[in-house]
């Protein structure tokens, strides 16, 4: 059923996974890469080969085109690609089960590298379930894959580098942004002073951010700062957006609203495997506990890229290479001394590309009302559970997310708690006077994505046919 055990099975075809696969092949490991998308690149370099072939990649920026080199190196490295494959279970010993939507297969690895990236932090506000309210990342995927751009009346609300990057990208592509409601509450001068060393070393990234701002000013895109309490209003679809700034409520017509409050590690897989996780207070999220090579407390499992800790694309790429070194050394293919020698320059790159991270985490920390929303705001979109219901469950004695799930069905819908998990943990922690670490997260069980019985049965058929 499984052709042979690969030395390394990489899950995720973004910068971390691609770099890890290429590096591991260079070290002589046999490698399989399992990716849910039809073409490698991950979300950051999504459809980069198609965009290049259609002449759109250059307009999407040099950072985006950087992914082309990674993807091409991967194609030439000799790794086996399982594209359009969803990994729905990873066993601690290294067995990976994945489906192509029709049939499941077993892909065995002596080591497994989880490189499944980040997901956007949920933005639970009033009206966020209305059609026409999407994430900024969603709109950017539409732009990268098929060149779709927002038209008149689309607002952006949120904070973080992606909001500016995306707005500037859309303006350059001839699309329109009605305005940006900036919810960052970190004060720029003070934050920059606190992280002066990082700001100086990360000046290239700072310059890029200033470039986005200049482009938005030139295009006369309205920017409102100090925004709180964003709400989407409408009957059956978003029609208006409402917010408070400077103590004043304001309202504007809207044909769409794009939300973004930064990204958090996609920990579903590492949690299901049973790896140890810690609460990261600076990035307000859980992340798997690893050493400098991404090795987790489960021997066969490694982690690289944003699913380990948010660092951005270039850091993820470096972390992928480090994980490949870690995997090779743990399999005895290279010595620890060789691993460390090769790791040196890569770690220097991590430090250079990651210099601005502390500043960004601080400046763009999500507002308290977004982590712990008011009673009437829907937290679990699948099951229609409000923050009030979660607090009610806490008052009835629920001490953690899993009890809240049993009491309310919160987190029990098809998304399996991906969209509500962070909010449930934060809301419970606040209600119980505990830390997020103490409260913990939803227990994640396979299958990681809903699976038809036929897809599962195909596995047994393959076994019987052997």
């Amino acid at each position: 059923m499984s052709d042979r055990p690969f030395d390394l099975v990489v899950i995720g075809g973004g910068p971390a996974g691609l770099a890890a696969a290429s590096q591991a092949r260079q070290l002589g490991l046999s490698v399989a890469l399992v990716d849910e998308q039809p073409a490698p690149g991950g979300q950051i370099y999504r459809a980069v080969e198609r965009a290049e072939a259609e002449g759109r990649a250059t307009a999407l920026g040099e950072d985006y085109r950087h992914g082309l080199g990674l993807v091409r190196a991967f194609h030439e490295c000799g790794a086996t690609l399982f594209a359009s494959h969803q990994a729905w279970q990873v066993e601690p010993g290294g067995r990976v089960f994945a489906t192509d939507g029709k049939a499941s297969r077993l892909i065995e690895g002596r080591r497994v590298l989880v490189a499944v990236g980040a997901i956007e932090r949920p933005v639970p506000i009033r009206g966020w379930t209305l059609p026409g309210v999407m994430s900024v990342g969603a709109a950017q995927i539409l732009h990268k894959t098929i060149g779709l751009v927002p038209d008149a009346g689309v607002w952006i609300a949120g904070s973080g580098p992606l909001t500016l990057h995306f707005a500037a990208e859309i303006v350059a592509a001839g699309g329109r942004i009605a305005g940006i409601l900036d919810t960052a509450h970190g004060r720029l001068p003070e934050t920059a002073l606190r992280h002066l060393g990082g700001v100086v070393r990360g000046w290239r990234y700072v310059a890029r951010g200033l470039g986005y701002l200049a482009r938005l000013r030139m295009a006369d895109v309205r920017r409102v700062s100090g925004v709180e309490n964003v709400e989407a209003l409408g009957e059956g679809r978003v029609e208006r957006v409402r917010w408070r700034s400077g103590g004043q409520w304001q309202e504007a017509p809207a044909s769409g609203l794009l939300l973004h409050e930064g990204v958090v590690p996609n920990t579903h897989m590492t949690m299901a495997i049973g790896c140890a996780h810690d609460w990261d207070e600076a990035q307000k999220c859980f992340r798997p506990r690893t050493d400098r090579f991404g090795m987790t407390d489960v021997e066969a499992i490694l982690v690289a890229g944003d699913c380990g800790s948010i660092g951005g694309a270039r850091v993820a790429e470096c972390r992928g290479r480090l994980a490949a070194l870690g995997a090779a050394a743990s399999l005895g293919v290279i010595s620890a001394a060789e691993r460390d020698r090769l790791a040196g320059p890569v770690e220097a790159e991590v430090s250079a590309h990651g210099a601005l991270r502390g500043f960004l985490d601080d400046l763009y920390a999500p507002a308290a009302e977004l982590c712990v929303p008011p009673d009437d705001v829907m937290v679990c979109r699948c099951e229609g559970i409000t923050a009030g219901r979660i607090r009610e469950a806490a008052s009835l004695g629920c001490r953690g997310p899993n009890q809240v799930k049993s009491f309310t069905r919160c987190g029990m819908g098809p998304c399996q708690g991906r969209m509500c998990g962070p909010t449930v943990t934060a809301t419970l922690a606040a209600a119980l006077g505990m830390t997020p670490q103490e409260v913990g997260a939803f227990r994640i069980r396979p299958p990681l994505k809903p699976l038809r019985l036929g897809e599962l049965a195909a596995l047994a058929d393959a076994e019987a046919g052997e």
Binding site: E120, P131, I141, I146, R237, P414
Partner: protein, 95 residues
């Protein structure tokens, strides 16, 4: 909400709610529903509210669609094929 994409020579002809729609190659079924201008793409089986694609990367499950008569498909994870029939998912799928 989104500008109609320029007509590509290699556009893919699909059917959204019974209407023919030409979409760029590489589009997902959820993107096709957005291009077709559907106000919403499903109703929640729990609350009955209208919903539409939110994350476009396989996380939120808001874009569940009936694709070629197969219900509860994650529309953002399925690439269009010529002749694909895409319909709204009304409430829960039938078992």
């Amino acid at each position: 909400m989104f500008r109609k994409p320029p007509e590509a020579p290699d556009a893919v002809l699909v059917e959204v709610e019974g209407r023919p729609v030409r979409v760029p190659p590489g589009a997902s079924a959820a993107a096709a529903a957005l291009i077709a201008g559907l106000a919403s793409t499903r109703t929640s089986p729990v609350t009955g509210e209208p919903r539409a694609p939110y994350c476009m990367m396989g996380v939120c499950f808001e874009c569940l669609l009936v694709i070629d008569d197969e219900p509860s498909q994650q529309g953002c994870m399925v690439t269009v094929r010529p002749g694909m029939r895409i319909r709204r998912q009304e409430g829960a799928r039938e078992l």
